[in-house]
């Protein structure tokens, strides 16, 4: 199913996720509300660390575990993009 309601940032971050983590999927297949970890895309903590680096390099947003919104941030592509939008410095 193709992605129809993704924002430009969501499209961009979906590409970043696929490239960074070497996933064999079309970035457009990542549903904005789909869980990224566990049963969704099946990412783990190593992915979280690698993804956090890519996000920091691309957007200047440094993810940290003691951020009270951390769980919400990584819940889905959409929530991740909301956090990037709010915290980005580049």
């Amino acid at each position: 199913m193709a992605l129809t309601d993704a924002s430009p940032l969501e499209t961009e971050v979906a590409k970043l996720i696929v490239q960074t983590l070497n996933l064999k999927i079309d970035p457009a297949q990542i549903q904005p509300e789909q869980p990224l970890f566990g049963e969704g895309l099946g990412l783990d903590s190593i992915d979280a660390l690698e993804l956090s680096l890519a996000i920091s390099q691309s957007y200047g947003y440094q993810i940290r575990s003691d951020d009270p919104e951390i769980v919400a941030t990584f819940a889905s592509l959409r929530s991740l993009c909301k956090s990037i939008e709010k915290n980005r410095t580049k």
Partner: protein, 449 residues
């Protein structure tokens, strides 16, 4: 009966652990252990799932005092846990908030809190021949292979490693670790190493560079960071302003020399690596920037077998075959030349390709399948790939089935569905043919996107 102390030389009011910026004294620890000891069921083995490093240690200590053995499963995959429980049916679970293991009674370690801090507690002495933990590795037969560790061997490895690194009980350095304590390296370096030297450890497990910075900053100066090449790369890439560190101790995967050099310069510290494996524990160290020669720990020695080397130590019940190809440099030093072809190491999780292939081929609907450890690239973590012949099944379905039987770190990335595998006329799959197949499929991917 020979015994070794549960703890190194702490003052009763000395700090054993740091949690959220507050110290936990040795006295409070012993009090909590004593309370938990009385609450443990009459069982022989325990799966300690506690996420919090301090609470895990309270559970481990209480089990030791009761003469019980702590099982360290290789992961949390439900079928892996079920299999271990089948083999150790007189087990229970220690938890600190998460769900336990289906079918096992659980004891909450938190419930020991609030115990009386009155009275004196004597540091327990544990028989050195008691099997303190069993670490599991995935064997080539498809079942988790147990590696029992006596209390004497855990203490010996911790003391020899600390001696090598120049630790002394009088120095007040705190160990901060990013590695899990249920892993052999993590258990040895983040818990036994500090506690056998009477040093404090931090109870958390920072992940992101900012976490590492703030956790190090939350404990008093003089710190040791126990971590992995992946975390080091993250902190170096981010140029994280880490507070002063005496030294960094890295393990679980080879650390590139250039990265070690950057870390030493950027964080004004020294970077050491530990080499070890589940069957023997930590056995050698090196300062990465000094070169590729590893020094065996004191009282560990090589013995030459017919076609390989084994390691001997007075705390190992028998010689342990060395898992990697090496050449000796004198009697106590060696250079690593690469892995035994069946063994893979992904982010510190060692697995057997034979075992993974067997599990893949046991999945309903899979006609043929094979895992491949791809050619190394720049990343500190290289993931496995898999090629699967499974008409009528999707890659997602197969991944879903695999997730229940293998540690998620071994999940193939990517998993390619193919019409057949490039078996030669004798039915064998060569690594070269699989690498070629991977290259072809990668090219097709790039055309698609």
């Amino acid at each position: 009966m020979s015994t070794a102390s549960l703890l190194g030389p702490y003052h009763p009011d000395g700090t054993l652990a740091w949690t959220n910026g507050s110290p936990i004294t040795c006295h409070r620890f012993l009090s909590e252990v004593a309370t938990l000891v009385d609450r443990l069921p009459e069982k022989s083995t325990v799966i300690n799932l506690a996420e919090d490093r301090y609470r895990f240690f309270v559970g481990l200590a209480a089990a030791l005092v009761r003469g019980q053995t702590t099982l360290l499963p290789p992961g949390r995959a439900p079928k892996v846990l079920t299999q271990i429980v089948e083999d150790y049916d007189d087990s229970y679970c220690l938890i600190d908030g998460q769900a336990g293991v289906a079918g096992l009674p659980s004891v909450h370690i938190l419930s020991a809190y609030g115990s009386s801090e009155e009275g004196q507690h004597v540091v327990p002495q544990i028989p050195t021949n008691h099997t303190a933990v069993v670490a599991f590795t995935s064997g080539s037969t498809g079942t988790p292979r147990p590696n029992p560790k006596t209390w004497g061997s855990l203490v010996a490895v911790a003391r020899h490693t600390g001696d090598r690194l120049g630790l002394t009980p009088t120095e007040n350095v705190t160990v901060v670790a990013t590695v899990p304590h249920q892993h052999m390296f993590g258990l040895e370096t983040s818990l036994l190493l500090p506690t056998q030297f009477g040093l404090p450890f931090h109870t958390g497990r920072p992940l992101y560079p900012e976490d590492v910075r703030s956790t190090l900053g939350s404990v008093p100066p003089r710190r040791i960071l126990v971590t992995t090449p992946l975390h080091i790369k993250a902190c170096v890439t981010e140029r994280t302003r880490l507070p002063g560190i005496e030294f960094i101790l890295s393990a679980t995967a080879p650390l590139p020399m250039a990265l070690a050099q950057q870390a030493e310069t950027l964080f004004d510290t020294k970077v050491y690596e530990v080499y070890g494996f589940a069957e023997a524990g930590s056995v050698a160290t090196r300062r990465t920037v000094a070169g590729d020669i590893w020094q065996l720990l004191d009282r560990v020695s090589f013995s030459k077998e017919s076609d390989h080397y084994s390691l001997r130590a007075d705390y190992l019940p028998e010689p342990v075959p060395f898992p990697d190809h090496i050449s000796l440099k004198g009697s106590q030093a060696f250079v690593l030349h690469g892995r035994n072809a069946d063994l893979v190491n992904i982010a510190g999780h060692r697995g057997s390709l034979g075992d993974l292939n067997q599990k893949l081929n046991e999945i309903e609907g899979v006609r043929d399948g094979v895992f491949l450890f791809p050619e190394k690239d720049e990343d500190p973590v290289t993931r496995l790939m898999a090629f699967v012949v499974a008409p009528g099944k999707s890659a997602d379905q197969i991944l879903g089935d695999l997730r229940t039987v293998i540690d998620p770190v071994f999940l193939p990335r990517p998993l390619y569905l193919v019409p057949n595998l490039p078996r030669n006329e004798t039915g064998k799959l060569t690594r070269e043919s699989l690498l070629e197949l991977a290259r072809q499929l990668r090219c097709e991917d790039h055309r698609d996107i």
